[in-house]
Symmetry: C2
Subunit: 300 residues, 2 copies
């Protein structure tokens, strides 16, 4: 499973970065390979100052060794060896009418004293963060998410859509980070699902990413925008930063356990604003977005 | 003590905001009074788009009621009533050669079942975050901090200076947020110090703030700067955001216990940048700053 999923994310990283470079038409991904002193490493690919993408990263990592102490408590185990691998991506477009997107697909193994697998699970998902709400884009993104789920179990989409709304929530603001998508974690073997079936599910979601996101970018990337649109985007990006630094478990885990900082924080947007007590004008497009973020909608 | 310190911070807020308005010469502080549903409230004063100050706040609050659950564990007590008051300020100048400053002075009371004071303490400090290092400014700031301490106990300055270096540290970056100052907490009655003596100490530090900061602003506010200087300032402001959202106990406590979000997050800078794996040029002024942040210096 480990080898199979590692091959999968390596190939997916290639597929996604090629397609995004083609879409951007100007910037290319710059690759940094890094080693983790305690075991493993990664391949970070970052794009900056493109025609479409102002900043973004599509990163893979495979790490292993002794489970860090901070994570022992989290998983409720003592001394144990672990293996973790995954692909993480965040894309911040320059045009405020093109949404930011985040996706992640990961696999985890914990070993017993004999070095055999004690537990294993998949996690991940994909979610969209628009600055202006185009309902047809939200519907398209969720429809593709649903299609990737439905072949496996008709309950998956509603369940993992709800988890996404719950997880990507800035509780201190009382609003969602974006308009959601899918989020799942601890996908372990049950009497209904083997690990092989979870693998098929997670890779189907991974395979759906470009179809979910690229058509939206193509449709919106040439919309004219002004300074007000851009200010709004940068203010909203501030909320993205707040979520990632205050609430996101993956980011905090990375920061507190000696992860590769630059690979973790590639998720932060390039230009960001904070204004005191900012509120969009009543009846504006900006306010329309906030209304949906405060009350997550059903899109399919 | 409670009444005395509340009067003190109210007056100090007036003194500081008047002097800063005079220094800015263009923008004035806008005041928001707010109530806390569970008891108490505050007076937030924010300045934006000035000649000198791009964004900043000088806020006071007095809150009381039942100690929130999250704080019970933190203080190691069960159900208890509390009272807390303080002044918090952060100023982000527009000119990259003028440092950002933060200060806070606070007083806390915890009550027993009879409503009598079970514990009481002071906390706070002041610290400087330059974007370009002028050693004479760092020396001036620390000299004023030391003078405020020395009349009370010659050990206070070295002790609280060290605590400041330890506290305002971005451990995930291996660098300090700025060049420090003073940080102290849990200043409780001992056989050497009565609460009245701690009050005198904390208010002497409060009274020293303008003397510590204003001469630096006056000296640097008219230095010409270019886009590169400004980019550097905005990138460094990113580290300020990282500290406040990831490590600062006050901010996180506020965010997780239904504090007034806009008053807490007034500390975040107006324009901020994140670039992937950014490093200043070898031998540059920007690199000189980083060297000091990685190895906090003795300034007096």
């Amino acid at each position: 499973m480990k080898e199979q999923f590692v091959s999968y994310i390596r190939e997916l990283q290639n597929t996604i970065t090629s397609r995004l470079e083609e879409l951007d038409g100007k910037a290319t991904f710059v690759q940094d390979k890094w080693q983790r002193p305690e075991g493993g490493g990664g391949r970070t690919r970052v794009i900056e100052n493109g025609n479409v993408f102002e900043k973004g990263g599509v990163n893979i990592s495979e790490v292993h060794g002794k489970l860090p102490e901070s994570m022992q408590q989290y998983f409720g185990v003592n001394d144990a060896d672990f293996f973790a691998c995954g692909l993480s991506l965040v894309l911040h477009p320059e045009n405020p009418f093109v949404p930011t997107v985040h996706a992640n697909w990961r696999y985890f193994e914990l070993y017993d004293e004999k070095g055999e697998i004690a537990t294993q699970w998949f996690g991940g998902g994909q979610d969209l963060t628009p600055y202006y709400l185009f309902e047809e884009d939200a519907m398209h993104f969720h429809k593709v998410c649903k299609q990737a789920c439905d072949g496996h179990n008709p309950n998956f989409y509603p369940k993992f859509k709800e988890r996404c709304d719950e997880y990507f929530f800035n509780s201190h603001r009382g609003e969602a980070r974006g308009i959601g998508g899918l989020f799942f974690d601890y996908l372990k073997e049950t009497d209904k699902m083997t690990m092989k079936q979870w693998y098929d599910f997670v890779t189907d979601v991974g395979d759906s990413f470009l179809e979910a996101y690229v058509p939206i970018v193509e449709k919106r990337k040439n919309i004219q925008y002004n300074t007000e649109n851009r200010d709004w985007q940068e203010i909203r990006r501030g909320r993205y930063v707040e979520f990632n630094l205050v609430h996101d478990k993956g980011t905090l885990f990375g920061l507190k356990t000696n992860g590769r900082i630059e690979s973790i924080l590639m998720s932060l947007p390039p230009y960001v604003q904070w204004r005191y007590d900012h509120h969009p004008a009543e009846g504006s497009e900006e306010e329309k977005l906030i209304t949906v973020l405060k009350n997550p909608a059903d899109w399919v």
